[in-house]
Symmetry: C2
Subunit: 284 residues, 2 copies
């Protein structure tokens, strides 16, 4: 197998090591299969409580799976040695609401009053859809999922607010109910769709012109299904116009040691070998 096939089969700690060393710099879809991946947000502690409130009030687009202590770049509950400054393949630096750099390491940006948030991502339910034999178009096409701004208002907190961003996947009409049931089992990965069917009802004018990602074909027997999207907090952060915010580059996620089937996204920090530790599973 080639080097990219090799890295897909790695354990989370091995994938993070490859990313940290600079050996792997691409998107993380499919890496360390079976383990939770997360969106990353870094901001100053003075804004962290409002951001925590914003996420609590908008749990569909912003499911929090980790919060660091101020000044600590380690997500101690997400695994052994998960360093948010070095373990994401690519980061976006935003200053005063504008992207000013895309970098492979944020150690030089990290400050003592910074707090990191990890938010669940759609890779988890996509894996479950594929496992059930439901096709996921953008994965089959090897493109980035199409994402759209909507008219769905978020519940504001402090400087954070705006409208929801959604991702769209065309699902065969006779499998929509199943796709909803499957994704609803993953509330920490956006859960069930926020809308199915007519895009106009949520303020999307043209499915062929996504605001982020690549458009996909929708076949006659398919229904466009819209899930709350982890780009939502990035849009909310931009509109808050903070001096400095750091996020992952879309598609380039933080890989954790938490199994995707875990009931809660927490590994005890004193666990000697996080990778062999099984958190409580659903139905245990």
């Amino acid at each position: 197998m080639n080097s990219f096939e090799h890295i897909r089969a790695l354990l989370p700690s091995e994938a993070r090591a490859a990313i940290r060393s600079g050996a792997y710099t691409r998107h993380t879809a499919g890496l360390a299969a079976g383990y939770l991946q997360a969106n990353l947000v870094v901001l100053r502690e003075v804004h962290a409580l409002d951001f925590a409130r914003f996420c609590q009030r908008n749990p569909k687009p912003c499911p929090v799976v980790g919060m660091t202590d101020a000044g600590s770049p380690q997500f101690r509950t997400l695994g052994r040695d998960v360093d948010l400054c070095r373990d994401v393949p690519s980061y976006n630096i935003y200053e005063n609401g504008r992207i000013t750099a895309t970098v492979p390491d944020i150690s030089s940006y990290w400050k003592e009053d910074h707090v990191g948030f990890a938010l669940g991502c759609s890779f988890t339910f996509e894996t479950a859809l594929i496992a059930a034999g439901i096709p996921v178009r953008h994965i089959d096409a090897d493109t980035t999922v199409p994402m759209y701004r909507t008219s769905i208002e978020l519940t504001p907190a402090g400087p954070f607010g705006g409208t929801m961003v959604v991702s769209m996947r065309p699902i065969p009409r006779d499998r929509v109910a199943e796709a909803i049931a499957i994704s609803s089992k993953f509330p920490l990965a956006h859960g069930a769709p926020v809308h199915t069917g007519s895009p106009g009802e949520i303020g999307i004018r043209d499915l062929a012109a996504p605001d982020w990602g690549d458009s996909v074909d929708i076949k006659p027997d398919e229904v466009p299904c819209f899930w709350a999207c982890g780009v939502t907090p990035q849009a909310a952060l931009l509109s808050a116009n903070l001096p400095l915010v750091i996020t992952h580059t879309p598609g380039h996620m933080l890989i954790t040691d938490v199994p995707e089937t875990a009931e809660i996204p927490v590994i005890q920090p004193n666990q000697k070998n996080a990778e062999t530790f099984q958190p409580l599973s659903r139905g245990d």
Copy 2:
């Protein structure tokens, strides 16, 4: 019907009005059936981020369903006119880690830098167990559920830490799997049990001597099942030894407008009539 039977059938806003007026002062089990009830924690904003971290890291005992803005006693995402200062039948005032008063209204204690947290409670899954025909002993006996300190270590955050408090319900051996499956559907109400069977394995020495609540009989064909308990954050708050913390009095919960079957515990603040609004349900 008598006045207590009458109040059980009220809508959430009607039950809160009865509590706010002082007409109803007892525990809230069974009130406003079908709607989410919540544990209450009030503390100073300077401690709120650490408490939010503590809850995120320990989501089984501390499932956050609401956070107020600083100085606002309204849980705007939990319904129309939900006033945490007046809508709980009884509050405990803790000063420097000791309970100093139990009061029916905290308006005089409320400060501009106070933040309220609402945490999901076990009433939700108990309703579901009863609906499935699984007996809940302390409800049949009209006593308070037995609660125990355990040796299960919590993941600390700032001044908050310690060990988990659990509640115990004896379940017929042939229905334990079903009870687990039912409660696991309610992650915002403590989810699946953290332990079933031997109490010694989680540091409980004597089931007949609970640390809170009343002991219950366990029949020969029953298995003691232990759920993470909303008293856990109260114990963690006490050990943090803060100058002032306010909680509900155990059993005397905050009644919200959120249906128990809602996928997320959020009602849009601009919703004109929260009670008739149906948030996204599981599988919608």
